[in-house]
Subunit: 358 residues, 2 copies
Amino acid sequence: MPTAAVYYGEKDIRIEDRSAADVGPGDVAIEVRACGICGSDVHEYEAGPIVVPDDEPNHMTDETLPLVLGHECSGVVRETGDAVETVSVGDRVSVNPVMVCGDCRYCDRGLYNLCHRGGSIGLTAGVDGGFAKRCVVPAELAIPIPDGVALEHGALAEPLSVGLHAVRRAGVQPGDTVSVFGTGPIGLGIVGAARVAGARVIIASEPSDFRRNRAGTVGADHCLDPTDTDPVERIGTLTDGGADITFEVAGVEPSIKQAIRGTDRRGTVTVVSLFETEVPIQPNELVLGERSLVGSRAYSTGPLADEDWGMTMQNLATGAIDPANFITDRISLETIVDDGFERLVDPANEQIKILVEP
Amino acid sequence: MPTAAVYYGEKDIRIEDRSAADVGPGDVAIEVRACGICGSDVHEYEAGPIVVPDDEPNHMTDETLPLVLGHECSGVVRETGDAVETVSVGDRVSVNPVMVCGDCRYCDRGLYNLCHRGGSIGLTAGVDGGFAKRCVVPAELAIPIPDGVALEHGALAEPLSVGLHAVRRAGVQPGDTVSVFGTGPIGLGIVGAARVAGARVIIASEPSDFRRNRAGTVGADHCLDPTDTDPVERIGTLTDGGADITFEVAGVEPSIKQAIRGTDRRGTVTVVSLFETEVPIQPNELVLGERSLVGSRAYSTGPLADEDWGMTMQNLATGAIDPANFITDRISLETIVDDGFERLVDPANEQIKILVEP
């Protein structure tokens, strides 16, 4: 019986029978209820291995592909190792996929998301993730899902935490004007988190009609189409000079340039996207306006995971963020390639988050 | 009798007799003792008018060239307007050259250095500056020089404030590791101010032997020549991973790239230079390391000038910064072109700051 979608390399994901890892004393085995497909997964499928370890194993785990992708997962604990005290069989959990070494200069300072040696389950760590019926993870990464959050919505904790982290890293405060360039899953999470943070005005710039409209549903006050409007000019008008805080979540040259120019003097541009190539920027735009360009990576993890992960769970529990706005389809493990990866390769297929439900 | 060096445009500075402006009720007339030649002045001489208003007058003053350059000046008050209460005839003052409108959205927030409409005396404001025997300025810009600071050293308050502002904007704290790319007058001021701010280790990268050695005298612990050492690798070794705070004061592509890569994860690169063109950067270096690229412009001015200007005066008064390390020549007004501008055009002439003493 097929039990997992196993990634072997570019365009090579095989649905096959694969045993989950043994449950060590500190591990838990989870029956996966839902696992979201992330843009990183799609990149690995399209052109990988990129960040999945291949010739060079992950520093900490010493693992390489083949592996089960999937780092946005929720499920029910079915087995616990002898030393596990934090969760019990039957608990509903979401998986924080980030393994950290706990011992490098960044972990020592609580900057676990910058850990030198760690990696993500189902991706950079080289160990099996959530596109499987069962997955085994260290117990500290199995985070109980609070009452009021549906089990499958626990799978959104990961991508939504990326957006919340960016909003916290940017320092959005009540009354700020915010603009967001690119409203895929992460950009939409930023719109939602900026609303939670008390932003006065949120402006989204997004060329896809589907995603732009979705930004309005999630909480953007103005949704601009950069193919027919100059977003810099329009943001300048709407905010009387530029947004206090801007997020670059598109990862392309026009967008990062517009993000800088659409930001007020002394404002902050937070870059969340990864870029395929270098991009030309004019540093004078930073100097003369005392603007800042700030990188944001993933979310707080390790012992401090609750900073982002816990608040994201709370946003789902209170309804401050409505998961229905993010999930555009639910598919089976068996059809993950055709109904999942292949559809996400082409942005014309109007999708935000597809959940795989094994 | 020649009384001023008047700027008419590219390579056209004329030593001629020019009456100082009338002393209005809120103005003071200053007998200039010293005025430093800034890199901006040299750019105007070499290839201007660049920021000096020509066809389009300054928004606030409605002035254009010809004008007397010079925005780093000190002297003695010789006449005060009827309404002036802050300084008296005979007072020793340095001139804060920045005129602000006091009424824009940036002035309203105390961000006077980002004022939309203002400008610098002897430069962007289009009004006469300090390369003259006498200059007339609004009284609030004439800042008393404290005891213990020589009159001519008051002319260093302006460039040193630029360095101090950058250090404050970067948030340098005691114990931080700091690197400085480019140690001309501003970079050297940053080295000195970082020392005052308690930096644990200061590393300078500068290709000119003369300026690199000067960085050591001012307070850098390690002085690297980027033409024979990889500064990124060396900074990584010296700081165990990268500097906490880096300053880009060279304004060229290799330098800003090295500045980013030589900065630790979660570190800050403060850009102080202006660049002639766009430069290609890889935003992933910001994202994956959560690094920040922060612009710093001029110094606190307007009613808050004391934040940078006052502290700079204090650094000179206490000896924390030794003005002798910055002044490499003193020349007369009459020889300003040959002994001043022409020598500063070529970096092979080993100069930091040349003071004109009218």
